[in-house]
Symmetry: C2
Subunit: 205 residues, 2 copies
């Protein structure tokens, strides 16, 4: 759902997008590509990694490493990898726990395992419908970004601005992913309390 | 600092406050009491627990259980315990980690160990100068509250309102403390980024 929302938004803005899946003929990816015109295509994770100038990890956090290994280290090398995933474990029911947290984070794990990739963590603290459409909220709040490579963050920030994001907070290196991933437990609670996923964190000063 | 800020505020509002410490003649507590007039007094943790209708845990999260044991189970029995503490571990330098998180929280640990106490977790997601003075920010943002006892939460909410808090979000039972305590890692990052502790989380819809 996250990948499809982001992919559709990028195509609508004139970007070419290849949606990667475990198999080349994934049913949902095929349907998405055939519905979204000439800029949209699909293939394996490796196909998508080869194709993209910028690669988005929109997989479930528990399978992100496996998906990225299928994408291929050599295909990702030197590229920007925007990590939107959260290491949520729903296997024991609600509320979910995190498979990694506190002194480590999924963003850091990915960066350590793919040292030649420029991991930028962002957009993981909100629902995907808000990611691509901050104007849906009167006050859209903040989007956080972190990563070790400043020029990669600048490129991703310009994508965020193209979605309409204005209040972008750069929290520093990828270890700040500990902070943003640990926002999820209260996010899940808030979703239950507010009865909607269309809300966001705003930092007021 | 948290305890002194809260205690001073309560005295200024006409409440009687006894500040508890490990020893009856703690230098800071003595100085605080002598400076704050007839409503202010000091004593041991046990003295404070006996004295208070509502007890505030403003200790460092790592020593909270020890302080509460010194306060005495029998002295706390049936009372509201407002837990403002965070289980932050600064022993390995910055950034701090959490001594308990993810599938448990300090709030829950306290509630489990003191089953006859009505633990209400609140105010732990902000600097103490903001806790007692939400008007310091043009938009003060939200204060979260959670706990198992609805009437205890209602009493604490009325204290929060007396400080000026309006946007109070009740996240449910004490297990929601996992969420609010896990806000601290990003809070610490934000403090470094913003160069101030006078900020807050606001939930925008």
């Amino acid at each position: 759902m996250v990948g499809e929302t982001l992919a559709t938004k990028f195509v609508s803005m004139g970007h070419k997008v290849k949606m990667g899946s475990r198999t080349a003929n994934n049913e949902k990816a095929t349907a998405w590509a055939s519905k979204n015109g000439g800029l949209a295509s699909h293939g394996t994770f490796a196909d998508a990694a080869i194709f993209g100038e910028i690669v988005f990890n929109c997989t479930s956090g528990q399978v992100s490493l496996e998906a990225l290994q299928l994408a291929g280290r050599e295909n990702l090398q030197g590229k920007i990898l925007v990590d939107v995933a959260n290491p949520l474990d729903f296997s024991k029911g609600m509320p979910p726990s995190l498979t990694v947290c506190n002194t480590d984070s999924l963003g850091e794990v990915i960066q350590r395992q793919f040292i030649d990739v420029k991991v930028v963590k962002t957009l993981n603290t909100m629902n995907c419908l808000l990611m691509t459409n901050p104007g849906a909220l009167k006050d859209p709040g903040n989007v956080f970004i972190c990563g070790n490579d400043d020029s990669a963050k600048a490129e991703v920030e310009s994508l965020l601005r193209s979605f309409g994001w204005e209040k972008i907070i750069d929290l520093g290196d990828i270890s700040a992913a500990r902070g943003t991933e640990q926002l999820l437990p209260v996010w899940v609670r808030l979703m239950g309390k507010l009865g909607t996923a269309m809300f966001n964190f705003s930092i007021v000063q």
